[in-house]
Symmetry: C2
Subunit: 542 residues, 2 copies
């Protein structure tokens, strides 16, 4: 027997309609590529999103067609989020930090038909457009009079000319909620990039879950600064969740330096900011010497990589800002866990709380997770045993774009490629990437733990641990270290630094000093390349 409730699809268009109807005069503020600050309201976003939808209709772009963007966080990008997806097309956010060859490869794989780009990426588009076989329309995100005359890009139009001439009279189509709405490619460190094709349903459910008090806790009293780029898993879905709760949105544009971010936080009364540790490092680096404080900022969510304890401390102690660790993946829309304390933890002392805060956190409802051993057997949630982390839920992918035949799932579960522990309270902690974990004499050594100890040494700027083949132990850890400028550090000193901080057999066999660690487009260490650099390396004593 079915219930007798209204059948209403969970659609992205309903998010922007809600924001318009109930939060029409709430501001959306953007620092533009041009450097000035643009301000308007959710009602304006809604109106102009409908114009975008009509512009796509006008060029007869079919349902499901991919509209790509190469753009920073800003209001025009936001209009594309709603106009493209809401009208039944698929928004494909390209990552401008990738190599041009990769961008062209991804655009061709996605079969993008339209590309909308910030003017700052004109040189990039000029470099790749002749390789992008399927793109027929190029739209520069600028005013009509800012359009360059001889860009060399065929049929280039300005965004304002393209959509500005359209009427805003438009009714959003009533789509099946499982319709595809957006496409993000993982910047895989190995193999070709793979696309996650989100649906309206998955996006709206993710927005509900990510706005909950135990997730990012978003409300109409917030002014939200997504520093995390809109080309990086849809800025963790914040454009959608902000519309859902009617929060003020503040976009930083391309200016992610500490000074610019600080000024925007202060001038716009930002209460909540989200981003990767690198950005917060720059922000604190700007504030500390100048003795600056926040006047409205209450909390930040940090994801993308683990946040150094010192940074959490600084935010909490020096700036009275709560710092939440979050964890997710492109394949998870992205949010899986947030590290918010439970009632019973509030009475714990600061040190015990900090230990908890360093974990990636616990599941928000919708996501389930488990850890398994090499045979796929579930492991205990005791906070000690580490295993391969598997997840499932309505905003986790079932398959990759155009790889429908080859399911990545294991018995319905998505293997994250992370190695983690889960404690009795459900708090998950990543201990390593599956491919980075060092298997030594049948035991696992976490490369991240080895790196964290090295990073705690005052002379170390960056550290990467890799496993090296060993005839007896299978693998043994070696730590590659970039020294801070102007300081001395010897191999023996660093190895001695490990004493007492970890089990003897987990101490690396060697230290290799390098000038730099190779980083990927999103700032993650590329250990595959590091291993190539170490091709001729031989472990001591072999």
């Amino acid at each position: 027997m079915l219930g007798l409730m209204q059948q209403q699809s969970l659609l992205i268009s309903s998010l922007i309609e809600f924001a318009e109807n109930h939060h029409g005069d709430t501001e959306v503020v953007s620092r533009r590529v041009e450097g000035d600050v643009h301000r308007y309201t959710w009602a304006d976003v809604a109106r102009r999103s409908r114009q975008v939808a009509k512009a796509l209709d006008a060029q007869n772009l079919p349902q499901g067609a991919r509209v790509a963007t190469l753009a920073w966080n800003g209001y025009r990008h936001l209009e594309l989020y709603f106009g493209v997806s809401g009208s039944g097309r698929v928004l494909h956010t390209l990552n401008p930090r990738l190599h041009p060859d990769q961008i062209a490869w991804i655009a061709n794989h996605a079969e993008d038909q339209v590309l909308c780009f910030d003017m700052g990426f004109l040189p990039l588009v000029q470099a790749v457009h002749s390789h992008c076989k399927t793109i027929t329309h190029y739209v520069a995100l600028c005013d009509a009079d800012k359009l360059p005359q001889d860009s060399g890009i065929p049929n280039l139009v300005s965004y304002e000319a393209w959509m500005g001439q359209q009427s805003s009279e438009y009714s959003w189509p009533d789509l099946d909620e499982n319709t595809a709405c957006s496409l993000c490619y993982t910047s895989g460190t190995t193999g070709d990039p793979k696309g996650a094709l989100y649906s309206h349903r998955s996006t709206v459910l993710h927005a509900y879950a990510s706005a909950l008090p135990d997730s990012m806790c978003m409300s109409a009293r917030d002014a939200i600064l997504p520093v995390v780029p809109m080309f990086h898993v849809n800025a963790w879905g914040i454009p959608y969740s902000a519309a859902m709760v009617g929060a003020k949105l503040v976009f930083p544009g391309p200016a992610l330096d500490g000074k610019s971010v600080y000024e925007l936080i202060e001038s716009e009364g930002v209460t909540f900011a989200a981003g990767v540790p690198t950005v917060w490092q720059m922000l604190l680096g700007h504030m500390k010497p100048a003795g600056l404080q926040f006047s409205h900022l209450q909390r930040t969510v940090i994801g993308g990589s683990a946040c150094p304890p010192a940074m959490i401390d600084a935010f909490r102690e020096d700036y009275k800002v709560d710092v939440l660790h979050a964890w997710g993946m492109t394949e998870m829309s992205p949010l899986g866990t947030v590290c918010t304390l439970k009632n019973k933890h509030l009475a714990m002392d600061a040190e015990a709380q900090m230990k908890l805060r360093m974990k990636q956190g616990r599941c928000i409802y919708g996501i389930e997770m488990k850890i398994v051993d090499e045979n796929g057997q579930a492991l205990a949630h005791d906070g000690k045993v580490a295993g391969d982390l598997l997840v499932k839920g309505p905003w986790v992918i079932a398959s990759y774009f155009k790889q429908e035949g080859a399911s990545p799932l294991l018995d319905g579960w998505f293997p994250t490629g992370d190695v983690a522990t889960i404690d009795a309270d459900g708090f998950m902690q990543i201990t390593d990437r599956s491919k980075d974990v060092i298997k030594s004499g049948g035991e696992w050594i976490s490369s991240i733990e080895v790196e964290n100890i090295a990073m705690a040494h005052p002379a170390v700027a960056m550290a990467a641990c890799v496993g090296m083949r060993h005839p007896k132990w299978d693998e043994r850890p070696v730590v590659c270290v970039v020294k801070k400028p102007g300081v001395e550090l010897t191999r023996a000193q660093l190895l001695q630094f490990y004493e007492g901080k970890t089990a003897k057999w987990q101490i690396p066999d060697d230290v290799v000093f390098v000038d730099a660690i190779p980083l990927g487009a999103t700032g993650k260490m590329l250990k595959t390349r590091l291993r190539v650099q170490l091709a001729d390396y031989v472990l001591p004593g072999l």
Copy 2:
């Protein structure tokens, strides 16, 4: 093109599984009918819910069958919420405050097959069971040794004997998310009661929305006391949303007096409580003379009827507790609006904020609303024009149980039967019930406004305004008043009290002093009965 996300149904069983997996040791505390306090955990709720499911399987109760309850808020009732719905049956919460004839009528209409009841309701069950044609199993919510020997109820078993013998090894069925999960009847003041048949999908989406920061703001740091009964629109869905966020739950049982509620709030560290104004009146009535304060309570949500401003003031000023107005209906699962301020309101002065707090609030995402005139034309959202309030959304009914042919919807919108204004910020304020509004000379007079002014007079205990036929004006308002004991109040004094507080033509034509105003089972005034009492009444001057 469809997205490539995991298809996972939104099911009530996934809520209890989530609570077990991630919040297994979080407490669920119940003051029992017996008077003592019972405590266990979400893991226990999950385990025993599975035993309930197996007990229903053991008696071959088919999918979709209705399992009725007559019970206060407590742990066994909670187990039935998950065990009955999770296993594919329909939980039907009967309202014990209704007249026995009504209860029997509703049980027959619902075709309930099982009835689970608190021992306190044994006399009620004894009175009705012979009229309940479809009920074949009676379960007393008690231990085996508490079962009365000669109850006169056929095949009566104790809950603990019934489910306690079952194994807790059970896999929840993977149902269609649109499957019916629970059934609540409206206690209509006119006509026969009508059933709202909720689905798993509507219930889970409602749980997401109601836990949001701008709704009831529920998290794993909360200890939640639902004073609103579980037989009253599923205690506003709190059993589901508390499981979703892993909050501690505290059940008051039948003891809703001020002293009992206060002691429970204090002893269990309750942070959030939800209920109707009457209960809070009793609570504050107990606290004030004794000079008591709350040590953990942060906020209350008040719904069911409008909250007197003095009560909001008392909570905020004297007890530092935030009071949120909420509004909804049985037909809405029930939540439609919550009155939480926006960022821009935070800077307003206390008086302006209070004016806002007196409204029923703004929509949570999922619900849309509009007001229309008598011709169905949409009216302005200016906070002044009042019209019939219509709503829609995925947790609003499409039709009533067994009335599938006769849709209550108007062009997809559910008519609430309320008259309301909506302001430019989306804040809705109920001005009257459609059937109570007084139509005088082509203008509408809000019976609630007339009542509120009378209620503000220190000598008035209760007031009800009804429209009386008038040959010239169609209708004119008359206010029926119950005086406070031992105080004097004349007709002329009260009518003078209206001067300057409302427009002249909105002042009632007469005051009728009565001993009592007839109330329905949920404490709402029954104006239909009041009109019967006034059948012989003639307006002054006619």
